[in-house]
């Protein structure tokens, strides 16, 4: 018997999830605010109530809409539903993860987050790829594998839900830094140091928020970052390059033409790090450069003059 899958959000990733589910023979219903033309096997609806009879719901809306959409879902779902989100953002000054928001706004408990180097095109076209699912519920892992997994998509799982969400949010910001460094002519070795040490400092911050450090070094963190730099042309990479060309932050975001939340997340994480007494030299220095408080040369000098420690 096919699974009744719901997808909330008709952006690139939402459609890819719907297509992958339909390809696996599932009964797919996609919700969006506006009517959409979709492949034959996918039904669509503009009524959020249509999610009521779904078993597994993918929430694929940008973080800035996540709270309002989740509130609407809260009027529809109950304890029978299983829910997975794909958000890379954190919400509010207190760095709320979307699973926490879903838990507060709905009565759904079997919740997970899908992250890692999976990109919409590869998922929709069935090209070989991999992802990580963070959830405490093994039955959710089984259902997601049945819904979209298969010989072309390996879905690993971990119980460290908050780790996956924080690592995933961190990748966006580190990708901007790497885009900037690339455009400034940094060599591969330099990029590797920035990527690795940047991830380590963010992992330390993540630990104070309940995450497991190793999650940052897996598919949700470094794995995703490698994919970003290896060339899947994410908006964050383009944003970094625009900044390196001398554009101001708001102007650079405008040039990219996509919603990039990495900076907002980074500012909140860095404030949290400061209050916890943690050092985050790479991230803090880059924010100072992008805010115009430091020149690129001063930034490099400041980072290189730091005392070197044990890894």
């Amino acid at each position: 018997m096919s699974l009744r899958i719901g997808v909330v959000g008709a952006g690139g990733f939402g459609q890819a999830l719907a297509i992958a589910s339909a390809r696996n023979g599932q009964d797919v219903l996609l919700w969006s605010r506006k009517e959409r033309d979709l492949p034959d096997r996918i039904r669509s609806s503009t009524d959020i109530g249509s999610m009521r009879d779904r078993e597994l719901i993918f929430v694929a809306v940008p973080s800035q809409h996540a709270v309002s959409v989740t509130e609407q879902l809260g009027e529809v779902v109950d304890g029978r539903h299983l829910m997975v989100h794909i958000s890379r953002g954190l919400i509010g000054d207190d760095l709320q993860t979307l699973t926490k928001v879903i838990r507060e706004k709905t009565v759904c408990r079997r919740i997970g987050v899908l992250a890692g180097p999976l990109v919409a095109d590869a998922l929709a076209e069935g090209r070989p790829s991999g992802a990580i699912l963070g959830t405490g519920f093994p039955e959710l892992t089984t259902m997601v594998r049945e819904a979209i997994g298969g010989s072309d998509l390996r879905i690993y799982d971990t119980k460290d839900v908050v780790g996956v969400e924080l690592a995933s949010a961190t990748v966006g910001f580190l990708t901007v830094i790497l885009g900037y460094a690339q455009a400034m002519g940094a060599e591969p070795g330099t990029l590797a140091v920035v990527a690795t040490r940047g991830m380590v400092e963010m992992a330390r911050v993540g630990q104070t928020l309940g995450a497991d450090e190793s999650t940052f070094m897996g598919l949700a963190g470094l794995g995703d970052l490698i994919a970003a730099v290896a060339g899947d042309e994410r908006p964050e990479l383009r944003l970094g390059r625009a900044l390196a060309r001398g554009s101001k932050l708001q102007a650079a975001i405008g040039e990219v033409g996509a919603y990039v939340e990495g900076f907002e997340v980074a500012r909140h994480l860095l404030e949290h790090a400061r209050r916890s007494g943690l050092e985050t030299p790479i991230s803090s220095t880059f924010v100072a450069v992008s805010d115009g408080r430091m020149t690129p040369n001063d930034a490099i000098q400041a980072l290189m003059e730091r005392r070197v420690g044990t890894e």
Binding site: G79, V107, R109, R110, F137, E139
Partner: protein, 568 residues
């Protein structure tokens, strides 16, 4: 020898004719007639679970023999002399046994363990206890009123000291509709006694609960424990089968509608902080009881009642904080030589609190279902916006209720997080805790760069002007009230109503004369910090809000205090 006799051979009153429960009696009155059936069900379910896999069966027997031999070899007592031979002989034979013999041995071990755990309930002892215990405690508090109290309806002294808060009407309604599971914070061995009294005066039902076997060594407490439905928990036994028995016994009792109580903190909070990392074993039994009833199509809801027990003065404060501060405390799970075991400390404690209104506040929080959802007045689970939902949906897989241990373990972890948050919201901050916090914050602020242990050695060295301290105390209470108004914590009436100077005097009066050391004292127009460890213990209750209730110039000290809670 006597200790072992008391803990293993329950003293029971003779029965002339068996008591036949009336329909209006609480569910626990049916316990004795169901006892053997409950034991048999626990044994049968554990054996069935292990017998389905021969490998698992052999591992369970080896684990039991290994851990029991190790324990008994260390104990070197009479029990060791009796039982060590059995286990040594068994561990040699396990490998040679065929599966049928292994099953027989498993059945024997599990039956013995379950009988050892299962309690007894005697309605006569219950009626005596509910009449006499509060009066005796009242008598200790005010000896001059003992005769009057024994004859009267209820002891006045106890009523003044113990306050009960919460939506009691709601809980009284629910008690006949399903199983209530009370899950209190745990500060003192007095907790079960005051909680039983709080249930009694609130018109709530008696509950079954697990009591450490060490408590059964006191003959009087042992008699009451044995006959009031308490089941025995021997924390020395590390055998996984024994843990299965304990958990399943609790589960079967909840499944059958017995109201239960357990302390998710596992042991008394040594630091005085509100528990955050909860032990999930028994909590899981509530979730699994709900699942099992759903699978069997038994419509008996399970509701969890987060409960906070708040003392202005803690009987064992000195021992507990000393234990927390020493490495010994990390391993010393069972303390047998603290204030709870000394009758003179009990008398001193009750005499001290009698003059203090509201010295202990029990707050029964709003009940929740096993998945953390609120429950409305009629017992239905509701969403944050008030929509009624069926909690049975949580244990369904593709439309059918199923047992899934991994899923229920995940629900239990989430329930533990909900409870930890509810403990903070429902904690009632007491005068001694607030005053201790302000004093301790001053100590931290006056000693920048010192670590915790260096600060705790500063006895009699920090002197604070009384007027400035009272101003600060007033500001701190104002900030606490703001947090209270946002529903994030509660404060006692005394903290709300008394002037700062009255609060200070009250706290000093509570501590001094009961605790062996002087927490703080008045010298002219200054307050002198005497024992920072005691202040640390009482102030630790406020750790989650330390930064929010500090003035900007106290923020660094508050940050240091808040960091104490990182590993709580």
């Amino acid at each position: 020898m006597l200790k072992r006799f008391l803990s293993e051979r329950p003293l029971r009153l003779p029965h002339i004719k068996p008591y036949v429960p009336r329909p209006s009696d609480p569910s626990i009155f049916w316990f004795n007639s169901e006892r053997e059936d409950i034991v048999a069900e626990v044994v049968s379910r554990i054996c069935a679970d292990h017998e389905s896999d021969g490998n698992r069966l052999e591992i369970a027997l080896n684990d039991a023999a290994f851990h029991e031999i190790r324990r008994l070899e260390k104990q070197r007592d009479e029990e060791a002399r009796e039982r060590l031979g059995y286990w040594r002989s068994m561990i040699r034979r396990i490998g040679k046994m065929d599966e049928a013999e292994q099953r027989r041995v498993l059945h024997t071990i599990v039956t013995t363990m379950t009988h050892d755990v299962a309690g007894n309930f005697d309605p006569r002892v219950y009626r005596f206890a509910r009449h006499a215990v509060p009066r005796l405690i009242g008598g200790v508090m005010e000896p001059s009123r003992l005769t009057k109290d024994l004859m009267g309806s209820s002891p006045e002294a106890l009523g003044r000291v113990l306050k009960v808060q919460g939506d009691l009407e709601h809980l009284r309604y629910l008690q006949d509709k399903g199983s209530l599971v009370f899950v209190p914070t745990h500060s003192s061995n007095l907790d079960s006694i005051v909680l039983a009294q709080a249930l009694e005066i609130s018109g709530l039902p008696p509950v079954i609960y697990g009591a450490g076997k060490n408590l059964f060594t006191n003959p009087i407490i042992s008699f009451f424990m044995h006959n009031l439905g308490a089941y025995r928990v021997d924390r020395r036994i590390r055998v996984s089968l024994y843990k299965d028995v304990l958990k399943l016994y609790s589960q079967v009792m909840i499944e059958r509608g017995y109201h239960s109580l357990f302390f998710p903190g596992g042991t008394r909070s040594r630091s005085g902080m509100i528990e955050r990392h909860l032990k999930l074993g028994l909590l899981g039994s509530a979730v699994e009881a709900f699942t099992t009833n759903q699978v069997r199509r038994i419509a008996r809801p399970v509701w969890i009642v987060p409960t906070t027990i708040n003392y202005a003065l803690v009987l064992e404060a000195e021992t507990l904080i000393r234990d927390w501060l020493t490495e010994e405390g990390q391993a010393r799970y069972i303390i047998e030589d603290d204030e709870f075991s000394r009758i003179d400390r009990w008398i001193a404690f009750f005499r001290k609190v009698v003059g203090m209104r509201g010295a202990c506040i029990i707050r029964f929080g709003s009940p929740i279902d096993p998945f953390g959802n609120a429950v409305d007045g009629s017992g239905q689970s509701v969403t944050p916006t008030g929509r009624v939902i069926d909690p049975g949906g949580y244990v369904e897989h593709r439309g059918k209720a199923v047992v899934d241990d991994a899923r229920d373990a995940a629900y239990t972890r989430e329930l533990g997080e909900v409870l930890a948050a509810r403990y903070e919201q429902d904690s009632v901050l007491m005068s001694t805790q607030v005053v201790a916090h302000v004093l301790f914050r001053n100590l931290v602020q006056a000693t920048p760069g010192l670590d915790l242990f260096a600060r705790l050695r500063l006895r009699g060295e920090i002197r604070l002007p009384c007027d400035a301290l009272c101003d600060e105390l007033g500001e701190t209470c104002d900030r606490l009230r703001e947090i209270k108004n946002r529903g994030r914590v509660r404060t006692s009436d005394v903290v709300d109503e008394d002037a700062p100077r009255e609060l200070l005097d009250r706290a000093l009066s509570f501590w001094n004369g009961y605790h062996d050391s002087i927490a703080a004292s008045l010298e002219g127009d200054h307050v002198v910090i005497g024992d920072p460890s005691l202040l640390l213990y009482y102030q630790n209750r406020l750790v989650p809000w330390a930064e929010e209730i500090a003035r900007p110039d106290q923020l660094l000290a508050a940050c240091e205090i808040q960091k104490l809670g990182v590993h709580r």
